[in-house]
Amino acid sequence: MQGPVCPRPIRQWSNVMLGHGSGGKMTEDLIRSVFYPAFSNPILDQGNDAGVISVGKSRGESRWAISTDGHIVSPLFFPGGDIGKLAICGSVNDLAMVGARPAWMAANFIMEEGLHMDVVEKVAASMQASAEEAGVLIVAGDTKVAERGKVDQLFITTTAFGLVPEGRQAGGQYARPGDAVLLSGSIGDHGIAVLAARGDLAFEVELESDIAPLNHLVEAMFTASDRIHVLRDPTRGGLGTTMNEIACQSQVAVMLDEPALPVRPAVRSACELLGFDPLYVANEGKLVVIVPEEDAERVLDAMRSAPYGSEACRIGEIAEAPKGRVLLRTAFGSTRVVNMLTGEMLPRIC
């Protein structure tokens, strides 16, 4: 049976909680106890970022990928991006993570009554700019207006569609012991930038969100190696959650080197101030790639010369055991386990 092999958690909640949207264990619980059973089919059950479908009969068969993403970010505009850019890049990246070439997108807008027209124009312009950068066309869409108060200003859903070239087989279940784990750049930028922009916790920081379309970076990587095992972008739930998903799907251990994890000083400081761990903060323009050790240097070189890959680095390796676990080697010589994020991250006092 394909897909994540971890035991299915028992449904524990009678209401949807904010934690269910955090990208961590509660989100997983919601998806696995409500949506997977309702929708189950072989494509969905693989549990990857995009669904890969085969079209056509045996000799003319081709594979296509489709993904969808909802965006409710608040505030709508923040340093480094906006909801529009996020909507385009989010779906583009989901496709890129299964090795697909995003080509077409559909976009769905739910607007709150009273939203300023120039906000909508700005968002649309930003989406077009991102779409051009990624090389995709927005070919279909829908708009709805909800009564004042029923929606927080603007929600956008995007769906992306593209071809998966022959020979590409990247998925969370393909990590193998001995593989190298590479990361395209610093973690935590997006989550902290948005949190600062939101203003609730009253701090200022010189930091921009890292939202970026990663499909060109991914193409450069496939040119360097045809043995890319895993590609994943650590969005909600952060790198820590993503590595746990992969460890579970592939039934391997992920070994990470704490000193090798790239974290911008401002992100580190903000996380300490709030009691957050950069490992669980969202990223929107970074990816993790797992390749056989022999291909690691070549892929790193290719990443460093490609858009959004200049800070690519090696952060660890895949081991045989303990299966399904992520371990972190600290600078002090100790090792600790990295668990999945549970619910929402809450700022702590001490």
């Binding site: 701090f203 920081v205 704490e258 974290v263 400081s269 101030l273």
Partner: protein
């Protein structure tokens, strides 16, 4: 209230409990309040004591003079 920089993150902090604070000093902050100022001299003393022990330790174990390079710290 004053503005404090936490390694690149800036926040308004209440300085009521450190009235002698001047720009450039370091403080421990807790839930938006500075609770003490850092004593530079004490900090240096603690570190240099440790560094001395470090050098002595190396001489004991290896029986030769230590290298002039300091061990470097982690990450960024």
């Amino acid at each position: 209230m004053g503005k404090l920089d936490f390694g690149g993150v800036q926040r308004e902090v209440c300085l009521e409990y450190v009235p002698e604070a001047v720009v450039g000093q370091y403080a421990n902050v807790h839930v938006g309040f500075a609770i003490n100022l850092m004593d530079e001299k004490e900090a240096e003393e603690t570190l240099s004591l440790l560094r001395e022990i470090e050098i002595l330790g190396m001489m004991d174990e290896e029986g030769s003079a230590p290298s002039a390079e300091q061990e470097s710290g982690p990450g960024q």
